[in-house]
Amino acid sequence: MSRRALGRAVATVEPPSRRGRTTERPDAVVVRLLSFTARVTSDCPALLRDIASLYPTASVGPGRSAGLPTVWFRVTETSVGRRGRRLTVRASDGQGGSFGSADQALAYLAYQIDAAAAVGLARYLLIHSGAVAHGGSAILMPGASGAGKSTLVAALALAGFRYLSDELAVVDGAASAALPFLKPLCLKAGGWTTLQAAFDTRQSPLNAVRPDGEQVFYLVPPRPCALERRLPIRSILMPVRRTGADAVLAPISRAQTLAELARHSLNLPRHGPAAIEALARVVEGAACYTLTYEDLPAAVATVSTLVGRRQPVRRSLSRQLRSTTDVSRA
């Protein structure tokens, strides 16, 4: 499956003078998440292609063609014994690790890139929240780890919503708007099982153990939002997955919603009272609900109804999942 077949519309395009070099063997991939840039160099092209396939905003090419990155990673492959190999990752901050498989190294890189990007984007308000878009407006779904944010976001994106992030809502407080943070979708085992039950799947995502010890499944985010587009936040949904519950939206007060956004903020102390004022403006411009559900398609249908979207069509995941085939730019 080619990169184009994955529906990526936001891949970085090299200047014309650089395009002649794309036939070179790639030795670097550059991941851009808003103003944050990570560059990964390696003599292992398959790994670079895998990274590029996970990030909609990644570009593969000669490492020297990239600008100054925010952080960089160097991955080297060494043989161990007759058939074994190890991949050693070294980061610009001195951290790193050694991994027995490419998938483990990839999971480590994705985790570190996403974490570094969150640090690099600290001038924005960062909310632990899923986020999708519809009709030019953003929908935030804040929640703690394990609340089902990523699974719900994945389902909504597969149903036609635009993907902004499964875990980190980047909020421009001055504009009361969300920006896309196009990290890979990262589902825990339960979430992946739930998604598989709701959508046809024929390919396997990247399955690895994250540096925090969690077994996760990385997916290519479907339908990513256009890069650096600011979307006014019009809906805030607190997802609550509960056994036996019908999919129901229940209004909650804007003050309580503000408190919830503050609770799930990752960098409120950095912004202080200005953040509260910004979040107050956000909730004042948004419809605020708790979304209680058990059945994922029913939750998607409920959100679709809320925003006036046609009922979702059951879609196959097979064309949305990670691919390790050709990702060179057309």
Binding site: Q256, H264, P273, I276, E277
Partner: protein
């Protein structure tokens, strides 16, 4: 970051409150009560939200707690606040309002929202 809702109790005098202490004489507190400088307040759709920048806590106040908070301006004593709220809620007994005000001021103190 934690969030809490500060609410006055539904029950009236005689209940156990204030961190398990049985009601008795109102605790001693400074003659005038004043909001701490590290607390920011913002009304959102009629509800008052407090942000404690020092302890990284957010509180959502109910109407009576919010009214009490607004009178914690360094100009009013506990008795002044009781009088003001009694005027605002003529249907409530003064003793009940006094109980509530003492209780919410206790909560404010416990949460370090007041200037000491």
């Amino acid at each position: 970051m934690t969030t809490e809702s500060l609410s006055l109790p539904e029950q009236r005098p005689g209940v156990t409150s204030r961190q398990g202490r049985t009601d008795g004489p109102a605790p001693e507190r400074p003659a005038r009560v004043r909001r701490a400088d590290h607390v920011a307040a913002r009304f959102v759709e009629g509800e008052l939200v407090l942000y404690d920048a020092r302890r990284q806590r957010v509180h959502v106040l109910n109407a009576t707690a919010a009214a009490t908070w607004q009178l914690c301006d360094g100009e009013h004593t506990c008795a002044d606040i009781v009088r003001a709220l009694s005027a605002s809620y003529p249907g409530e007994s003064k003793s009940a309002i006094e109980q509530d005000v003492v209780e919410v001021l206790d909560l404010f103190s416990l949460e370090e929202l007041l200037h000491t």
